[in-house]
Symmetry: C2
Subunit: 761 residues, 2 copies
Amino acid sequence: MTRPFDVIGTTVPKRDGAEKVTGRTRYLHDLVLPRLAHGKILRSRYPHARLVRVDARRARALPGVLAVLTGDDVEPRPFGFAKDQTALKRGKVRSVRDEVAAVAAETPEIAEAALALIDVEYAELPAVFDPHAALAPGAPLVHEELGGNAHPLRYQFSCGDVDRAFAQAAGVVEDSYRLTFVTQACLGTMVAIADWDLAGNLTMWTTTQVPFLYQRDLGEGLGIGGDRVRVLQPPNGGNFGRGLDLYPIDVIAALLARSCRRPVKVEFDRVEEFIACPGREPCTIRLRTAADGDGRLLARDAHVTIDNGAYTSWGSTTPYVMLATVAGLYRVPNVRFDTTIVYTNNPYSGSMRGYGNPESTFAVESQMDDLADRLGLDRLELRRRNASKPGDVNPQGFVLTSFAMTECIDAAAEEIRRDPPPLRPGWKRGVGYAGMFHVAGGARIYRSDGCGAIVKLDDFGKVSLLTGASEVGQGSETVLAMIVAETLGVPLERVDVVNSDTSVRPWDVGTHASRTTFIAGNAARLAAEKLKAQLLEFAAVELEEPAARLDVKNGVVFVRSEPQRRLPYERVVRAGHLRRGGRVLVAEAFYDPPTTMLDKDFQGNVSAAYTSACQAALVDVEPETGKVEVCRIVSAHDVGRALNPGAAEGQVHGGIHMGLGYALSEKLVVEEGQILTQSFMDYAVLKAADMPEIVVRLIETVDAEGPFGAKGLGESGVIPVAAAVANALKDALGVRFTELPITPARVRAALAGRGASKDGR
Amino acid sequence: MTRPFDVIGTTVPKRDGAEKVTGRTRYLHDLVLPRLAHGKILRSRYPHARLVRVDARRARALPGVLAVLTGDDVEPRPFGFAKDQTALKRGKVRSVRDEVAAVAAETPEIAEAALALIDVEYAELPAVFDPHAALAPGAPLVHEELGGNAHPLRYQFSCGDVDRAFAQAAGVVEDSYRLTFVTQACLGTMVAIADWDLAGNLTMWTTTQVPFLYQRDLGEGLGIGGDRVRVLQPPNGGNFGRGLDLYPIDVIAALLARSCRRPVKVEFDRVEEFIACPGREPCTIRLRTAADGDGRLLARDAHVTIDNGAYTSWGSTTPYVMLATVAGLYRVPNVRFDTTIVYTNNPYSGSMRGYGNPESTFAVESQMDDLADRLGLDRLELRRRNASKPGDVNPQGFVLTSFAMTECIDAAAEEIRRDPPPLRPGWKRGVGYAGMFHVAGGARIYRSDGCGAIVKLDDFGKVSLLTGASEVGQGSETVLAMIVAETLGVPLERVDVVNSDTSVRPWDVGTHASRTTFIAGNAARLAAEKLKAQLLEFAAVELEEPAARLDVKNGVVFVRSEPQRRLPYERVVRAGHLRRGGRVLVAEAFYDPPTTMLDKDFQGNVSAAYTSACQAALVDVEPETGKVEVCRIVSAHDVGRALNPGAAEGQVHGGIHMGLGYALSEKLVVEEGQILTQSFMDYAVLKAADMPEIVVRLIETVDAEGPFGAKGLGESGVIPVAAAVANALKDALGVRFTELPITPARVRAALAGRGASKDGR
């Protein structure tokens, strides 16, 4: 059998890889502009305090200081999802992240010195750090004007008769799962560079991953139209959801630049990145699951309590995805879901890879094992019996087209038992499984989930793809180039991808929800198809055959029935350009998937495709020390089609690394509103040597809507890991861990008390 | 009468103006990249010498030196129009501009120091600096392999029976006109920054004005495909034709960067700019003109001898335009034209605003006055009788459509006599006239004279025009934005122009031949028309009316018959994007004018429109000192339509400044192959205080093919000035000056000898 494709399905190194590993990539951090000024931000000393006095006179007098701004110097323009924060705080501070003042100076050192010269008089206020305490009568109010700390956001869903289902169940399990703060730990910190021209247009170089929404939001935050904001995204060292929202750093950079009439760069150092980068939200998930005697799920009932922190960013909206897991991970006819989102004086959270799904999957998949134990069923068999299938429509109305959950379970089960390493004396071993359900064909959270593409072909045969999609390290540049090369029939190295300037790119909603390959890929494919048609029209003249009888492959245009009649495609392009009435080739397309937003009852079909995965973890644990060693993770994924198998595996590897950190080691320690982990000495990201053997199985279902059959994969790897590890530990030790990270101390405490400790450190 | 347009026809400041005059523009010179290395070029000490030894060892040993290249270190890849030069010379040098070696170092200072450490042993060769001497038997050979110094290039044209016409003429005039070296004197010197990625792709930031031809040429000069070259054009301080060719600076920057694996910047200092920037070619024009007794032109016979210098750039090809003037400036049925182009050991010339036309117009228009004198006719009347008219097809086959030569003559005559300033005692006054004929609708010198445009409209109503056209200071950005704004019916400030990156722009042949407004303007207009049609389709849904009944004006879409039914266009765009099956708006177009290249007999119709101008100069001269003071220049131009009248006037002002320098003060002094003028102390560019009153008359003929009726204007201002001034001086003094510049010394010498001196200093 000949391979159906020339480029698709081959492993192609990431285009930006060689430049990155050899230190040649010019990151946003490296950008220098003439007259560039450097901005720094002064943050609150207290988690909750009145600002009695902010006196910047000494700072302003420091030589080399170009601008000092406090909340009183700028118009307060609320921004963000709930419009509950401003860039520079006025009157009071609500968390230690709160921005009290900002300085622009000739050098970062002068700016730093100036911060120390700003005299801030605080009147400390009683603060509240626990959602339950925050809801108690008489608790200190984070936002007085709301009259309470309960957040107006609420995600309430109901389907079927949950109470009856529980009443009739053969087995019910119930537990509470506690998830803590973690952070993206991007190697490249957050940066914003702002530059105004004399006509009042603003150019931003930023770590955003949603440049077109950022235009709008930043415009609002500054009181200008989005059309005045041009967004450029030079390479940055990771994002993982961090760039999904507008944050004070962006607004402050722009305000400082406006004030000192120079370009201003605000660049977080590592400490600031830990303090001010909005990561994954802490939450408690109370979950009950009911099943009949055969293990068939009857109902789930979930209540999520989110510590919202002082302001609202995307962390507050993660129940949107948690609900999708509770209602969609396995077939379950009766579902109830509710939330309590509470303002506290903690820092707020943003979005982070998986976006609620690692949290809810930890709860749901832990409970699947407990349910199997309760019913005396095999854990894999329980999952197989409940696995969703193609054609299913789930309680929210999500329509499953291609869907290989059963195959993923089988693949994970098959690989995890293969040639296990020897077990060391004094250690115990367990195997755990966890499935996953996630969007894989976009996620309509905005009225458009589309992406545009322009493809241009020049006289030298160089193809430029101008895509709306943002490359934030995930490899989209490479896979989009592959899609264009395959569609056009030209060698991959002839395709350039341009993806970092809103002035030249067509619109895209941004990099999130594992949507880029699917959505931007379809847009690129459609534009390339149009261009190919034009190319064949040119060739029809040169080869004297109707275009319908021609094709292009490997850069050669040929007559399909007489392949020896052929021309290099760049010759065809030049001939078409240079003849009388000639032209150059440009084509464009916009792809918006055929999906619907959720309605007020959280019903709809948000994605054009859904995917599943199953992970298996082979975990050794030393009861004496509590040390946990993950020996192997098998990760089986329904990818639709693996466009770039090596890159797909790489995404899964990265996800597993992040998931294992979530499971075992990562915790942003926040005590009394203060962030105690401020370096990689404290915040335990797993090192390469800590990583287990990883076996990835890519299962190809060839989705009918996806580009060449592909589906999204960017987040899948991270989602089930914690659950699989916790299930393996239960298998090894008989103890259920309901709180992350599962540190040695927590293991020892659990074994000592046969219950999970509340303190993981 | 209501104005037919909202934007077109209004004077709009140049978009880059405010940033430039406030010092905020980031020029190419200001660009800094991480790890940027600095390149310097060692040039020949002698105009003609064997390179006996080039020893770079001491330079290579200097700390901070990253690469040293000599001709022996790189493959010799000939480039340029006649493929007769290489970037680094091997074996021998042929002019003092010749590049012997190049250094890249950590700083420009180290690179400069390293140059001094390169030991070059020369064996001086007899040299030749005069074309006539160069053709003498036994003259030293510049290129031995050619067997002689005569250049293979020759422009030979004949139409009608010239000899018979001369034999039958009532009046014949004949003279020789000597034109010297001048240089563009750009305030921003030439710069090339080269940066290779690990995959072998090259990014160039350059002063080119033909980025797409540059891609091809630089690829050839480096032995790579043009598809590997990405060209970026940050703002630069003037070009005036300097950027029309590939020069050694570009190749050397790329070679150095490849050698030291870092980005390399080569930036000329002012001295080097005088030595190495290829300016206007020195030439002698022998011209005879014949007329009948009524002053009707019967014939012209011209022979141009060009000092080609040591290599071939566009300076060698200017007879192409000189011929167009000889055959096309006024009606003349019989024309003979021939050239002698000769290699010498002088520096070679490139292209410079007007490209042969100021030279030939100086000859032709000087001779028109002499002919009037000979026949006893009024100078203006002679011109009116011979003026070309719409519908004319000239001896080369140029088809004149809109053409207002008579109106230009009348306008110039009318304005020049208005309220003359008082004449100082001891001074004499003259009035001179000169017409001009030039392409104004492109100039097909390459098989495509086209330009592409992409127009994109975002959710905020921001329009981006991605144009192939290059902004080199001429104001094309502004006028193209106006064309798009007018066509789309949106406010001008909502239109952005993106014009500096070959990866995102569609093809364009480059900025030359006054073609941008016409060609790129038509492309932009066509793309905007397509976009407008799409916008009205969106609006048809929102306003519930067929698109054909709608229009857009000032950013408002309305029902033509019920203008109160209206919507802001950005709302229409958002509605069309955010509805089910929505999309964003992108449109593209390519415009290549309906013209033909000249055939081997120099017959064809190279431009879609031609233009004329007439200038009048009111000149005072003090015979005692030879001091010449131009009091007023009137410049009347057939502009088709003045899209941006202020900018059009500005172009004419700039041209007059350059033309007056050519006429009166500018001379690049080259003696024995050495360039003696190396600063603005020696090279007398006119200062603001030296400038006369300028009166510009823009005559609107509304060309049928031009965008909104416009025609090209970029070069017209410079072309007739020298002739008009020389004619005014003859009017004042009775002396014909046939050599430029007409310095006070030359005036005194002429008055003393009643003949023009050969030495103008």
